[in-house]
Amino acid sequence: MSKSSKIRVVVILAVVIALYVIPQSPLTTDNTMRIGLLIALYCTLGLMWNLMAGYTGMVSLGQQIFIGIAGYNVAVFATTFGLPFWAGMFCGAGISVLLSVALSFLLFRMKGMYFAIATWITSEALKIIFTSWEFVNMGGGMTIKLRPYPDVFELYYISLTLVIGAFLVVFFVLNSRIGLGLKAMRDDDDASAAMGVNIFRAKLLCFMISGFVTGLCGALFYINQGSIFPGPGFGISWTVAAVFIVIIGGIGTITGPIVGAIIYVFLSEFLSQYQGYSMIILGVIAIAVILGLPYGIVGTIERKFGFEVLSTRRTMKNLLSGGRANVDYSRGRDLRVSK
């Protein structure tokens, strides 16, 4: 390990410890905790969308499938069966994984825009099913009843652990042999097939991880919220959030979603009294970033200063940067060596 990467590890550890310790200080309020919790969850949401779109080229518009499924699981487990929240949380995430496996047979036959629309339509179909399903109170939604109800501090710590876990998973997946294949796949299916990567399995792994973690994320969102309705639960705005977070931060960068999530949460908090305007402003910012900063904020900084906080040493060009990537397959495992 080189000196600079040692420093980097120390800095990252310090930040993580700080995030765990700060809430113990008397200055933190429930509101700051709530914002911290939202940043952690939105960051996780962004990371999982990025894992698919930014690294494997599967642009999903259906992340709300997993959010809604897990949210409803928590509600049903807690309210209908009287079980603790973590049971519903993990069961919801588990069902999300099963669903992602089932959907993969359908969705992985499609590429690009077909995949994008199909994921969206699947979520719309689920929305209709949940709206007309008596077991989940149809369109009337469900209130999540938990005793004791976890407070915002507990939820913050769970979410913080979740987002750190999500970072580690993404980091290790991308630095594994499968990750290398995935990045190759994003640019050229045939090329990665030629490298001996089982595309279907690699895609499925990402989709399953994305389903599982997004499911946990959705469960926590709804425990924090207290009630769930089919419209918002399976609403496209979850994906909107994920897309904006990743694009503003930098698609295909590991740390981009942190910056994106912070901007997203603060914007929507500041603009919460002007409901609707926040979405317009976010939309304008996202389009401006796509036009002006194709690598997002983090991606642009990385490029300018040749510095990466968490390196996966992308040799493939960024998804939004366009052009053919300069892929040097002969270097093989060297690709993992960090800069």
Binding site: V59, L106, I117, A125, I236, V243, M279, I280, I287, I290
Partner: protein, 282 residues
């Protein structure tokens, strides 16, 4: 049953005009216009505002709405999408996604979330066909929708601009070396697609209630039309509209109206998995 079939056929004409714009953009610009549904709804709101301000019949407001929509499409294509196209398909797709969110929320701010309707003197009239009673509006929708699509087909076949549009969709590079300014043609194609959205918006607005968030519903219908009819095929959209309309109304008739939409979605998913190039692809 007869009622469902007749309504299905007539609605099919409306679906075709909703979807044809997306199909053009899909086939020619190779862009997934995720804002297509919002553009349809936007046109309905334009028509609402214009007929409120001038007292024009919503149908006649198209004289203004059509050109406005053409200009918006042309501008979006030239100022934004053309610049992003060399970077691949995802960037324009995400921009249009952002655009749909912006349009939806701008409409929400300007017009509120209340349902709106374009009033039309024939709103409540019906006519009998055999033992089925058909709303006159459905018939008007179908006739206008089909006529606009046929006119578009003639335009594509017999004018230089129309042929240039087809040439670009066939082989972009070859089109360039025939003297075609490809970016300009993309802009024109987007403009034409937007004019069809304008017609669709006015027809939708006089048939159903609309509110700021109905766009995604029309996007999904459009996507169904594209997937069944094949991208860029104008005649395919007519057949696809018919199939989709019939499937939905028959699904609704057999399994209840709540499942009407679901039936449509399932058809799209099956089509996507089995034959994403459309029914008529060779």
């Amino acid at each position: 049953m007869a009622q469902a079939i007749i309504n299905g056929i007539l609605i099919g004409g409306l679906y075709a005009i909703i979807g044809v714009g997306m199909s053009i953009i899909f086939g020619i610009v190779k862009l997934t216009n995720l804002a297509h549904g919002e553009f349809v709804v936007l046109a309905a709101y334009f028509s609402l505002a214009i007929s409120a301000a001038t007292g024009l019949n919503p149908g006649l407001s198209l004289i203004l709405v059509g050109p406005i929509m053409f200009f918006i499409g042309f501008a979006i294509q030239n100022l934004i999408v053309n610049r992003l196209m060399p970077r691949g398909a995802e960037a324009p797709l995400l921009v249009m996604f952002g655009m749909s969110i912006i349009i939806q929320n701008v409409i929400l701010q300007v017009f509120s979330a209340d349902p709106q309707h374009l009033t039309n003197p024939l709103d409540t009239s019906n006519f009998a066909l055999g033992n089925a009673v058909v709303p006159t509006t459905f018939l008007i929708d179908c006739v206008i929708g089909v006529c606009v699509i046929l006119a578009l087909n003639v335009f594509m076949k017999h004018t230089y601009v129309g042929m240039a549009v087809r040439a670009v969709s066939d082989d972009t590079t070859a089109a360039k070396i025939m003297g075609i300014n490809v970016n300009l043609i993309y802009g024109v194609a987007m403009g034409i697609a937007m004019v069809t959205s304008a017609v669709a918006g006015v027809l939708v607005g006089q048939t159903y209630n609309f509110y700021p968030t109905t766009g995604s519903q029309y996007l999904i219908i459009s996507f169904g039309i594209v997937v069944i009819g094949g991208m860029g095929s104008i005649k395919g959209t007519l057949v696809a509209g018919l199939i989709f309309g019939l499937a939905q109304l028959l699904g609704g008739f057999l399994f209840g109206t709540t499942l009407q939409l679901l039936a449509g979605y399932i058809i799209i998913l099956i089509m996507l998995a089995v034959k994403p190039q459309g029914l008529f692809a060779k």
